[in-house]
Amino acid sequence: MNIAVLIKQVPVSNDVSVDPETHALVRATSEGMINPADLNAIEAAMVLKEQTEGKVVVFTMGPPDAEKALRDAMAMGCDESCLITDRCLAGGDTIATAKVLAESIGRYGTFDLILSGALSADGATGQVGAMVAEYMGIPHVAEIQGFAYDESAAGSILAVKKFQGMEFKIKAALPALMSVCFGCNEPRLATLRTKRAAKSKPLEVYTNAELGMAADEIGLEGSPTDVTDSFEPESTRKAQMLSGTPDELARKLKELIEIEKGKE
């Protein structure tokens, strides 16, 4: 089974603010890492690859330094990667991003399954995976926990979803796209050997010269989303430092808990 995994490089730092004019997120540092849920998608892909053979190709759209995220993914075991980078793609919303990803996947090769993380740690829209499926015209299952792989069920796959304490198995015809929940598995770690090996694994770079997409489909111009406002939530929580002996602290805590209970 050939699997594509869509990943995103997100900022390491939580120190993110909002530009008051453009409402865009302003990152304190440019240091990036693979979006945590995408690591779960990679792990799910690696497990399937071990069961079915084939290859795992990881895709990302971003600035040139997003190559690091691709190398990190290949150090986890992905076989090949594709960096989609071009200044004209910058500022794209989820629709413009999904169009570019769909075009790139189609151009790269044929895949049985496409996986993405369910949510990104920065934007957290959860839209791109579904949109890529739509643009590729393939089935989509959102927020899965994993797969129940059945060797005999060629041409389809069972995805496992959890909802309100219940487990669902959803059968999808292949090719399909599924978004993988954060924390549903334990992503494998790279080792020194795999890190070194990742440096020489294939990395294809696509710019819009290769993709040939129209200017009104990509970047800011191809983005119908209008961010009218974004803001940091106001925190009304206040900390109160208690002091005293353990017995005194326990008494004070009990009193405070009783007061809070009385507010309900």
Binding site: V12, S13, L189, L192, R196
Partner: protein
């Protein structure tokens, strides 16, 4: 007795340890200025190893090593955990005769001070201590179970607390914006919160920032940065199953960090003329994690494959890059400068946790009583002008 007012720039191991030693004098008025948090930055990224014998500091400075080690043991005795001691013991591997001789001398010094230590040539016994090691191409190993590693951040905070108890002050979140100098003499300093302080002495304890701090008094402090690139490895099977000692080779060292292993290239193996190893950079631009170079992966893989093959397939949990502050001879810069009252306590490189107590003890004596010790003469700024 006349009061002496001392402002210390930098709240890492150097600044807090000096602040504490100064606060032991009744006539010292000490203020430590830290732009971020106490014991952060390069101190927080320090491995904190204080081993009774290894090659990190020449045996001629044995008293420095011992004073540091026993200062932290005393700290732990006073309040358990206040120095973050993890008594794992240390295994120092002899890769050639020169290293072997250094280890043997170190063991003799440790034993004379009442600690255990043995030089082991029985390869099976070495593997009992560290099952993952390769004993091929080594002569033997020195081992003691009495030492281990400490926590530089804990120590800095403990020193800061002890200094405050003695009447000293700590200003955190405050950046020194100007050091006031008149006629080549220190007058005080100004800070980012608009305060203006009068001081008799200003001490630069800013380590990797010293080049920039020195510029405020018109001095070129000869500090280079060497990269301290560290990896945290999760051993195969995710459990060590034995007490991983501090492991010292001439080119790298390792120690346990919970169930993981911290591993780093040793600072004495860094080449100041190699731009991959050393340079003069801006420590403010260092990321909290990551930032390591590919060459380091190759270096470490080569080392582990032949030295400690049992952990070569460990998972990479995280990594970080720190800058050590090194003068060209890899020894600290302590004491007076051409600017009267401007004192340096910087350039500890990879040895800040080891050297800070003895260096601070002697520097405090110099500032408060004008007495110079052999250590201060050895590590004086003027040696670098020759």
């Amino acid at each position: 007795m006349d009061k002496k007012k001392i402002g210390i720039i930098g709240g890492g191991i150097s600044g807090t340890c000096l602040g504490y030693h100064l606060s032991l004098y009744d006539n010292a008025e000490v203020v430590v200025f830290e732009k971020d948090t106490i014991g952060g930055a390069s101190t927080a990224k320090s491995a904190g190893t204080v081993c009774l014998f290894d090659d990190s500091l020449k045996n001629r400075y044995w008293d420095v090593r011992l004073y540091g080690f026993e200062s932290y043991l005393k700290m732990e005795e006073e309040e358990k955990g206040s120095a973050g001691f993890d008594k794992t013991g240390t295994l120092v591997v002899a890769t050639d005769e020169k290293v072997e001789a250094t280890i043997k001398t170190g063991i003799a010094l440790a034993k004379a001070a009442g600690y255990t230590g043995e030089y082991i040539t029985d390869k099976d016994k070495i593997k009992e201590i560290l099952p993952d090691i390769s004993t091929e191409n080594i002569l033997g190993a020195g081992y003691t179970q009495d030492d281990g590693y400490f926590d530089g951040t804990m120590i800095s905070n403990t020193y800061a607390k002890k200094m405050q108890k003695n009447g000293g002050a700590v200003k955190t979140g405050v950046k020194v914006t100007e050091v006031k100098v008149e006629d080549k003499k220190i007058k005080g300093l100004k800070t980012s919160d608009g305060e203006d302080y009068e001081f008799d002495y200003v001490v630069d304890c800013t380590g990797p920032w010293s080049k920039f701090t020195g510029e405020m008094v018109g001095m070129d402090v000869p500090i280079w940065h060497t990269k301290a690139e560290a990896f945290f490895l999760c051993p195969p099977g995710k459990k060590l199953g034995y007490t991983f000692p501090v492991l010292k080779y001439p080119a790298f060292y390792a120690l346990r960090a919970g169930d993981n292993i911290f591993i780093c290239k040793s600072h004495l193996s860094m080449d100041l003329s190699n731009p991959m190893h050393a340079g003069q950079w801006d420590p403010d631009k260092l990321p909290a994690t990551g930032g390591t170079d590919d060459y380091f992966i190759d270096f470490l893989l080569d080392q582990l494959e032949c030295r400690v093959p049992g952990i070569v397939d460990s998972g990479l949990v995280s990594s970080w890059l720190s800058y050590r502050a090194e003068p060209k001879d890899f020894l600290p810069i302590l004491g007076e400068t051409p600017v009267e009252g401007y004192i340096l306590a910087t350039g500890y490189g990879g040895n800040g946790v080891i050297e800070a107590p003895a260096a601070s003890r002697d520097l405090a004596k110099f500032i408060m009583r004008g007495e110079k010790t052999p250590l201060l003469e050895d590590w004086a700024f003027e040696r670098l002008l020759k």
